[in-house]
């Protein structure tokens, strides 16, 4: 499948943290043709295994990109059928007003997010954010009708279709971290044409947005020799400090800091330079807010890497990603994996 198509399927779908199963078939069927084994674990992580060649030492590399996305959840139904909601994952309430949503009950219902109109507000209120608790979802049905389809606890997705902007840029919701899944997918395709030693586990993790929960358990299960998280990084825009951001279209950020194994990182940089793959440096001194954090501290500790795909307007419904960055991430991952053998790993891990 073309990676643009795959990205479209993933972002247009719904996989709010804890309810990722709606995408299971899409992801499994895409990876399946390239894998030796694929299964879904207890918490819902999709684990796809692609075996290496002559891997007598049982060398294991785990890649993790999270399949969950931020979203909303029904917490209360008003007497006139309006829905009150809470957030799942980090959402700036200011990005919600005026959005169209799908409430996933026993049937999917369309609705819009509203609040008090400006005409009825004091001038002083106009400069204040409308709180999430003061917003409602209008489904256009009476309470009686709403309760036929919707229950407390049902998840809600912002309705947004992936759309092409200029050049190779695409905009949509949940490109964080569907872009990472697509990069893994492109990587597994690349690896199918290559020789490498390690058994590679491509893990689409769950519940990253609520605390990397899926990465903890899947890493425990796989117990890899190397863990690589593929997530998104802050794309540069004028209002953000340059040092916190990555430029769009200039390759993935290779994270540097305490969460990252220095020897493995050097190898990643060497490979990028050797194959002329553009990359940027992302500095995160402490734990990254990615699955790499969970991987690092599982069991006896696992050396980890983190690649960040530049993404603008993170956690809004108009995130932007550049397809060139996704492709370069995939390429870098594939060449990196091919460069790792049981023989050289010990040297790379040596402090």
């Amino acid at each position: 499948m073309d990676i643009n198509n795959f990205l479209e399927i993933l972002t247009n779908g719904s996989s709010i943290s804890g309810h990722e199963y709606r995408l299971n078939d899409k992801i499994s069927s895409a990876f399946k043709i390239y894998t030796d084994d694929i299964y879904i674990d207890n918490l819902g992580n999709i684990i796809a295994l692609k075996k290496g060649r002559n891997n007598d030492s049982n060398l294991k590399i785990m890649m993790a990109a999270h399949m969950d996305e931020i979203g909303l959840m029904v917490k209360y139904i008003e007497d006139n059928g309006f829905i009150k909601f809470t957030n799942i994952g980090g959402i700036d309430p200011r990005t919600l007003l005026g959005q169209e949503v799908i409430v996933h009950g026993n049937r999917d219902l369309y609705g819009v997010i509203g609040s008090k109109p400006p005409h009825l507000q004091e001038a002083s209120e106009m400069n204040k954010t409308i709180k999430m608790e003061d917003m409602i979802i209008d489904l256009g049905y009476s309470k009686e009708e709403v309760e036929k389809y919707i229950n407390i606890g049902d998840v809600i997705t912002i309705k947004r279709k992936l759309r092409a902007l200029q050049g190779k840029r695409l905009t949509g919701k949940a490109l964080d971290d569907k872009s990472g899944i697509v990069a893994m997918y492109e990587c597994i395709k690349e690896l199918s044409k290559m020789e490498y030693e390690a058994d590679v586990y491509f893990v689409s993790t769950v519940q990253e947005e609520v605390g990397m929960r899926g990465a903890y358990t899947s890493t425990f299960d796989i117990n890899p020799d190397i863990g690589i998280s593929i997530d998104v990084g802050f794309g540069s825009t004028p209002e953000l400090p340059k040092e916190d951001t990555l430029d769009m279209g200039k390759g993935p950020g290779i994270t540097l800091g305490g969460n990252i194994h220095p020897g493995l990182r050097q190898q990643m940089v060497t490979i990028a330079e050797e194959y002329n793959i553009p990359f940027q440096t992302e500095v995160t001194p402490g734990p990254t807010g990615t699955d790499a954090r969970a991987m690092q501290i599982t069991r006896s500790g696992i050396p980890t890497l983190c690649l960040s795909i530049p993404l603008r307007y993170m956690h809004t419904s108009v995130e932007i990603v550049d397809m060139r960055d996704i492709k370069n991430t995939a390429k870098l991952l594939a060449f990196f994996i091919a460069s790792i053998s049981n023989e050289n790993l010990e040297g790379l891990l040596c402090y």
């Binding site: 008003e78 006139n80 309006f82 980090g90 700036d92 309430p93 200011r94 990005t95 919600l96 007003l97 005026g98 959005q99 169209e100 219902l109 369309y110 609705g111 819009v112 997010i113 509203g114 008090k116 109109p117 400006p118 005409h119 009825l120 106009m126 400069n127 204040k128 954010t129 409308i130 409602i136 209008d138 256009g140 049905y141 009476s142 009708e145 759309r163 092409a164 902007l165 200029q166 050049g167 840029r169 905009t171 802050f234 825009t237 004028p238 209002e239 953000l240 916190d244 769009m248 279209g249 807010g289 603008r312 307007y313 993170m314 956690h315 809004t316 419904s317 108009v318 995130e319 932007i320």
Partner: protein
């Protein structure tokens, strides 16, 4: 569907051409005289029995939106609002820019890089910009010009029980009512006027009223609706699904009491549900019309719209249908000379 076509067209105040063309195309053959005046108002006359009183029915064609003011070195587009837009609804929305409808998005700073206090303040227009996916001013300028109008990218959706979501329901819903009544009535002589630039200060209505010089005017509108259970009843401007709203007063007009009472009688006689528009906030073309020349008797009949002036306005087909019935019943009385 007519309303779909009308709401999906772009017609930011001062740039109503797309909407005007749809209207002209719809009504041609159904009216006896069409004139586009110097401001862009569409003034049509439908011949019929002569009356001592001259009736004008108006609806404004324009909608609120944005306009390009600058393109920066990174190809990001700065804008200002056209008409009353709550700046808080702009973040995280897709938009379409200019005649070629170039897609772009209004993003915001990632939540991860914000302090919690930052959330409490609404983002100002000066903090927002549109990203069309280019990296340089040069690339952007090949596609976009300063002064291009920007509309929300929001399609027409039917949902729930009888509801419609669209942008620009204020006031394509009025245009749609006026088009339909122009097409359907026969032998009733009246003026239909589609005005420009209502949202930026009732610009088109005054000159149009001056030309037509009517005795009575009915303004068709989409009006604000906020009907949540927590709010005190007297503060609810209008409800959805309770029929067309008849205005008492707003910031621009104290509507004529006798005309209002006659209209309510017509509604009651015909068993058409109606409600009062209970807020004094807002204003519409009537402000300029009722003070034109030696004065005009006016009323406003509105279809309630939740989330007005946003990309996701919501109205009820039931209210629309009843507004139409009421309008028809009024014309019937007018024909009898009873207005």
């Amino acid at each position: 569907m007519l309303l779909k076509k009308l709401t999906e067209a772009s017609g930011i105040s001062g740039n109503e051409k797309e909407v005007r063309d749809i209207i002209l195309d719809e009504i041609k053959g159904y009216v006896d005289n069409i004139k586009i005046d110097k401001l862009g108002n569409v003034i049509v006359y439908k011949e019929g029995k002569n009356h001592s009183k001259k009736l004008m029915i108006t609806a404004h064609m324009d909608e609120v939106g944005l306009i390009v003011t600058n393109i920066d070195a990174l190809g990001l587009i700065k804008f200002v609002p056209v008409g009353g837009i709550d700046k808080r609804i702009l973040v995280s929305k897709p938009v379409l820019i200019g005649k070629n409808k170039i897609p772009g998005v209004i993003g915001s700073k990632p939540i991860h890089l914000q302090k919690k206090e930052e959330w409490e303040d609404a983002l100002g227009i000066d903090q927002l910009y549109i990203d069309i996916g280019v990296d340089t001013e040069e690339e952007a300028k090949k596609l976009i010009n300063i002064g291009d109008y920007i509309s929300f990218d929001s399609d027409f959706v039917e949902f729930g029980e009888n509801l419609i979501k669209a942008k620009a329901l204020d006031n394509r819903v009025g245009c749609s009512l006026l088009i339909e009544i122009l097409k359907e009535t026969k032998d009733i002589g009246f003026y239909g006027v589609f005005t420009v630039m209502e949202e930026i200060g009732l610009v088109g209505a005054g000159p149009a009223a001056y030309s037509v010089d009517p005795d009575i005017c009915i303004v068709l509108e989409g009006t604000l609706c906020y009907d949540v259970p927590q709010i005190d009843k007297h503060l609810i401007p209008t409800y959805l699904n309770k029929g067309p709203a008849i205005s008492l007063m707003d910031r621009t007009t104290l509507f004529d009491t006798n005309l209002r009472k006659k209209i309510i009688k017509i509604a009651e006689n015909n068993k058409i549900p109606y409600q009062y528009r209970k807020t004094a906030m807002g204003g519409n073309d009537s402000g300029k019309i009722h003070t034109s020349k030696d004065g005009v008797i006016t009323t406003t009949i509105s279809v309630p719209c939740r989330n007005i002036h946003s990309p996701t306005s919501v109205m009820s087909k039931y209210d629309y249908e009843n507004a139409y019935k009421l309008l028809k019943a009024i014309l019937f009385e007018y024909e009898k000379g009873a207005l």
